[in-house]
């Protein structure tokens, strides 16, 4: 009997690694399905083709399915995200020219968000031209993370800079050609900018918000309801691919697979940087072991509190209004219940709670778990703020007045 076949859409990003590895290492087949990967050219295509059912599942920006459920997307097909593809794995890169101004303003080049943001604020105050920064899609971790960093550094993202949208693979060249002053994107496109266009990494997602979410595997709610076994198999395959990818003994092999022409089509050495955490920021080479966390610290678990944080930022930047009903819709998009049920046969530890407080832990710490013990990574925001998912409204209010 032939196995059921799933079609998955993805964009050329290292974050697609867990879907790619599930396919390339035969994990999908072991979980009872075959995976066909289709590389897409824009997030808009991923959004529409997933909503229309051309893709059964897709690598999505974690806020995309939330936006669909809040009616912010054109084809508002209800979506869910039952498994995450890891934490971190993106950065903010600036042009050589902007970096030299930031360095003059005191940026140390150590990739720490605080001092880099302070230097950028000083450059913006003394530059008559409005700097142009790019993100990859409006409802993206990149947009909210860049805006968070700017705002907490005293820069108004809507007034002091211009934010534009470009797809990931086009960013390095646009920066090199002088059309952009900086961008926030997933790997390998920061490292490509550094290697090929003299760019500098200003700071990393792992410094703005430690061990924070970025992308998920998204799917239509009705498809998930009709195919519960395939949803569970997908969750297990992504989880197991993450386990394999987290092991440092496999980093080289993972980089070789991802570097291939069907996926990233970039040199292995550049792809390996984020996997190994050996980041060349252009100023100095730094070891950032948690730059990309494919699996450790429950990295694949869809925390409802993370969905609520995305929602808080959608409200903050005027994309949607605040209401208890909207907050509930956002939280319901992430499905920890499906995650736990799918992993039960593996006998692994899973978080016992759906929500957690972010920003309060500076170190690794234990979390209540089912089926064993589970240690989470640190989760501080660089400005020291705390996100309590039971007080979303007051969090939004505090950001509006700051």
């Amino acid at each position: 009997m032939s196995l059921p076949h799933l079609t998955a859409g993805f964009l050329p990003l290292l974050d697609s690694a867990l879907l790619v590895l599930a396919h390339e290492l035969g994990i999908a087949e072991e979980e009872g399905f075959t995976l066909g990967l289709t590389r897409e050219s824009s997030w808009a295509n991923i959004r529409d083709r997933t909503a229309l059912g051309h893709f059964d599942i897709a690598l999505v920006l974690a806020p995309m399915p939330i936006a669909a459920n809040l009616g912010l997307t054109p084809i508002a097909t209800p979506m869910i995200a039952p498994v995450m593809t890891g934490l971190g794995n993106n950065a903010i890169t600036v042009s050589a020219d902007l970096w030299s101004k930031m360095a003059d303003a005191g940026a140390p080049g150590d990739l720490a968000a605080g001092p880099a943001g302070k230097a950028l604020a000083q450059v913006i105050r003394s530059t008559p031209r409005t700097l142009r920064l790019a993100v990859v899609h409006q409802t993206s971790s990149h947009n909210y993370e860049l805006r968070y960093w700017l705002a907490a550094s005293g820069i108004d993202p809507d007034r002091d800079v211009e934010i534009v949208v470009l797809p990931p693979p086009l960013l390095p060249e646009a920066l090199g050609g002088g059309g952009l002053d900086g961008y926030c994107v997933g790997e390998p496109w920061n490292s490509v900018g550094v290697a090929n266009f003299g760019a500098r990494i200003a700071t990393t997602k792992s410094s703005i918000w430690q061990w924070s979410p970025d992308k998920a595997v998204g799917m239509r709610s009705d498809w998930a309801e009709q195919n519960p076994d395939l949803v569970a198999a997908t969750i297990r395959a992504v989880y197991r691919a993450g386990q394999w990818c987290q092991d440092s003994a496999n980093h080289r092999r993972a980089a070789e697979i991802m570097a291939g022409p069907a996926y990233l089509n970039q040199p292995v050495e550049i792809v390996a940087r984020a996997l190994t955490g050996q980041i060349d920021g252009g100023v100095q080479q730094l070891s950032i072991p948690d730059f990309y966390v494919p699996h450790a610290g429950a990295a694949n678990f869809p925390w409802k509190s993370h969905a609520l944080w995305y929602y808080s930022q959608m409200v903050r930047w005027g994309e949607v209004g605040f209401s208890a009903a909207n907050a509930a819709k956002a939280a319901a998009t992430f499905r920890p219940d499906l995650y736990r049920a799918a992993l039960a046969p593996l006998g692994v530890a899973v978080p016992a709670q759906d929500l957690r407080i972010d920003g309060a832990q500076a170190d690794k710490h234990a979390t209540p778990a089912i089926g064993g013990t589970l240690e989470l990574g640190p989760n501080r925001f660089f400005d020291g703020q705390i996100f309590d998912p039971s007080a979303v409204e007051s969090y939004i209010r505090s950001q509006a007045t700051s």
Binding site: S41, S42, W43, A44, N45, D48, R49, L52, H54, P74, I75, V136, H137, Q138, V164, V165, L166, P167, P169, L170
Partner: protein, 196 residues
């Protein structure tokens, strides 16, 4: 009924396809059709032509750029959104399948847009069909060249006539349960390795 007064903008990096669609719309009576090949020009073009309907090909990686531009209401005088009529889901599905995405200004009536969208979809499909046929013809030609070259090698090295060389290739392919073109390719590779 066409609404010839509507202003239409086509964004397509593929110049041939763009001109095929433009021509179709003009033939159908739409006089106000503008074409650009780079999303970066969209701001200027929108200010000039005030389009009611905008098409962009789905291969275009700058769809996100375009949508973000529309979302900045200050950039354009009239709100533009992806054209989706929920009462007619098959229409948008047909468009995406054909490889085109459509946007319209707020409040535009479905009946006015439908003939335009239908035209764009059928021209996109016709273009894909043409491209496919062209690709098939091209690869058939390539294959014939390879087979001819392999026949030439056999004729020279084994002193065979052309029909005998072809028969030998065909027999070998059948015996090995492989395609003729693969046998011919292997023969050429081997001859290159062994040759002077």
């Amino acid at each position: 009924m066409p609404s010839p007064d509507l202003s239409i903008l086509i964004i397509d990096e593929n110049r041939i396809r763009a001109s095929i669609i433009e021509e179709g719309l003009r033939e159908a009576g739409y006089a106000r059709v503008a074409v650009i090949h780079d999303v970066n020009e969209v701001g200027r073009t929108i200010a000039l032509t005030m389009p009611d309907v905008i098409f962009i090909d789905l291969e275009n990686p700058k769809r996100d750029t375009l949508e973000h531009f529309f979302s900045l209401s200050r950039a354009i005088q009239r709100p533009i959104a992806m054209f989706v009529d929920r009462s007619d889901g098959t229409m948008i599905e047909k468009a995406v399948e054909a490889g085109v995405s459509a946007y319209g200004v707020d409040g535009l009536k479905k009946e006015r847009v439908k003939p335009i969208l239908d035209m764009a979809i059928s021209r996109f499909n016709a273009f894909s069909r043409l491209s496919r046929e062209l690709e098939e013809a091209r690869s058939a030609l390539e294959e014939r060249k390879i087979v001819d070259q392999a026949k030439g090698i056999l004729m020279k090295t084994k002193g065979l006539s052309e029909p005998e060389a072809y028969a030998l290739l065909r027999k070998t392919a059948m015996n090995q349960n492989r395609r003729l073109i693969d046998i011919a390719q292997s023969l050429i590779t081997a001859a290159n390795l062994l040759g002077p």
